[in-house]
Symmetry: C2
Subunit: 397 residues, 2 copies
């Protein structure tokens, strides 16, 4: 398995495009993905009870777990937009289907941006009609889905599966409202592997638990989140069956792509200067480990301490204590980077100069050993900075 | 019932003192409360699994629900301090008991401040020995318990109960790590009412749910939280019995004191410029209403929007959506101040100039009607500002 250069259109038979339609002032704001053949598909959606209109349209398209195209706009979330919003999401689906000459039930729709404003449909329509896949640069899609993100987020991997080269590509956007259970996060994963939608859905649900759902920027869960996976089978590997080495390889690829995208999202949290990775080990079960890791990485006090480059283990152990995971408060070990700060919940001497160097880095690793079991789990987040406040206080509706 | 000027020592037979012992550079850092007679007592403690040493000492003292004195230090939390910390908390109790000539089992101990550093016991000892209640100014106690608070927090009320004037006083500290279920929050309530500790504990538990546990500053729950109530009976009212008008009056006093302290803590959150009150009505039950209110007031995106004085109802409805309360996403009404922003989840026209004035104020009221039931609940918090990041990033261990 190797990481390669590429785009969301690197797997065989996939095409993608993105352009500036006019929803944003100058940046790209409309994108499409297309597969030469209908693809087996899997999706997970926001858990927010208030869901955006495109979520319903995509869920409906996913009834037969087959998708051939995806249309995405940024700048407008099309959430809290009532009947008109629902009609607009359906219209967006129909326009994309017409442009690509595919049945509209095979088109997934996603939106991200401001809540409560109606999509300007003339702009959307004009934009969709401008998309010309044969001449398009697929990388433009990566840009077209961004909101306050400061960089595109992508990863492409390839591996041999039963003698065939299989490619998998992932692209995502994140930034704000990033927390548990899908945030204003959109992630699209394409692969030319041949695999059933049932297996794909199982793998996605499983890996979402340990990757996308383990990142937090600000504790808010958005109305629009979506991870969508398309597998079009054009690598012509024999159909992947559960329990085989081919399945293991595919799951490994999926884990690599999902974790890489999750980390990229966490690192590019609004205003962030650092990626924080928290690993909890020695827990009584994996979900307890993940819960504690996510509470630590989500603590505003830990996040500001990391911004201030202060090894404030008191705030970390405090977050472990209120996480709700099974814990023996007297047994906690803790490290930042390679340096141990706590042994059995008691402070340890450490080299301050070395710690300063560790905390100056762009990636900080916090390890907590609960010393009560064998299970472990990770979570990713970012520091809380002046810039976060600026981005979110100056943003006006 | 009326609000009166006064201190924690306003109820009959209570005395209090505070001084600068040397734990902080110049500010007061050590305080005591004393009752002329043993008082019926009630307490609620932090829910954090990692608890500070003084919490254990106070719990032990509370076994018979009788307390005569309280000793509190700020600057050091005495949390994660192991056996030495436990011994120091006991020593603090013994020193206070000796100074006041009361049994040490009647002395409650509380600490607040930095986690993981041992109390400098020589300073504590010297400080306790300097306390002279007859000459002390009780207001100094209000100052002595503060950490990053910018002002003292107190309220005193009096009412007639069965012909006797009963006084109740509350004093608190808050600021950071303020969230559900007790935060770095200390609150002390004294009253000269005659009431059993059983009734007192019931009232405290009940009112904590709707007041202290409904405030959030940063989502962190501290290791040291404590609300302690002392009722010494010196008002000489007939013993308050449940279900009587006297009981109703006492509960009303308690509600007024608890809610006032809770709001004062929320308003003085680290870096805060505004108090935000969220009331959720039309919920299917009170705990759902409180949950939704607390999620809205705790959302970093809502908090930054309020700092930016932007009526960002999208972030508010988003928080309602992920709160986990029973909700019909199509039926939500919303107001900021007197202006309606949403009717049945659809945006309404509003006067922008008037909204600007509403949002410029120091207190902002957000009302959400779920329109599915009759229950309601409130929560209080503050805006998220540059200053919050500064206070917590520049703070070094």
């Amino acid at each position: 398995m190797k990481i390669i250069e590429g785009t969301i259109a690197s797997p065989k038979g996939f095409h993608a495009a993105g352009l500036h339609s006019g929803l944003k002032k100058t940046k790209k704001d409309l994108g499409m993905i297309y597969s030469d053949v209908p693809a087996a598909a899997a999706a997970v959606y926001t858990t927010n009870q208030v869901k955006a209109a495109p979520i319903f349209v995509t869920k409906e398209a996913m009834v037969d777990a087959t998708i051939q195209a995806v249309v995405v706009n940024s700048a407008y979330a099309n959430a809290c937009t009532g009947k008109i919003g629902a009609e607009n999401a359906l219209a967006m689906q129909a326009l994309a289907a017409e442009q690509l000459a595919v049945p509209k039930e095979t088109v997934a729709v996603a939106s991200t941006g401001v809540i409560g404003k109606q999509l300007p449909m003339e702009i959307i329509e004009k934009g969709i009609k401008q998309i010309d896949l044969p001449t398009a640069n697929p990388y433009d899609f990566h840009e077209a889905i961004l909101t306050t993100d400061t960089s595109t987020k992508e990863i492409v991997v390839s591996a041999k599966i039963n003698g065939q080269t299989v490619t998998m590509a992932g692209v995502a956007k994140g930034s704000g409202m990033i927390h548990p259970n899908m945030a204003t996060m959109l992630a699209f994963i394409t692969t030319d592997a041949q695999i059933s939608s049932e297996l794909l859905q199982g793998i996605l649900a499983d890996k979402t638990e340990t990757t996308f759902n383990q990142i937090t920027v600000d504790g808010d869960t958005s109305t629009n989140d979506l991870v969508l996976v398309l597998a079009n089978g054009l690598a012509e590997n024999p159909m992947i069956e559960i329990g085989t080495p081919a399945y293991e390889t595919f799951v490994e690829m999926f884990q690599l792509v999902s974790e890489a995208l999750a980390k990229l999202i966490a690192k590019d949290g609004e205003g962030a200067t650092k990626l924080i990775e928290v690993e909890v080990v020695g827990a009584s079960n994996p979900s307890d480990a993940r819960l504690a890791a996510k509470k630590v990485v989500g603590s505003s006090l830990v996040k500001t301490a990391m911004f201030g480059e202060d090894p404030n283990w008191g705030r970390i152990i405090c977050a472990v204590g209120y996480a709700g995971s099974q814990t023996d408060p007297e047994k906690i070990d803790m490290w930042i980077g390679q340096q141990q700060l706590l042994k059995h919940s008691q402070p340890q001497e450490f080299d301050e100069a070395e710690m300063k160097q560790t905390l100056e880095k762009e990636k900080i690793l916090i390890t907590v050993d609960l010393n009560i079991g064998e299970a472990k789990g990770k979570a990713w987040g970012c520091d809380l900075t002046y810039k976060y406040v600026e981005v979110n206080a100056l943003y006006h509706t």
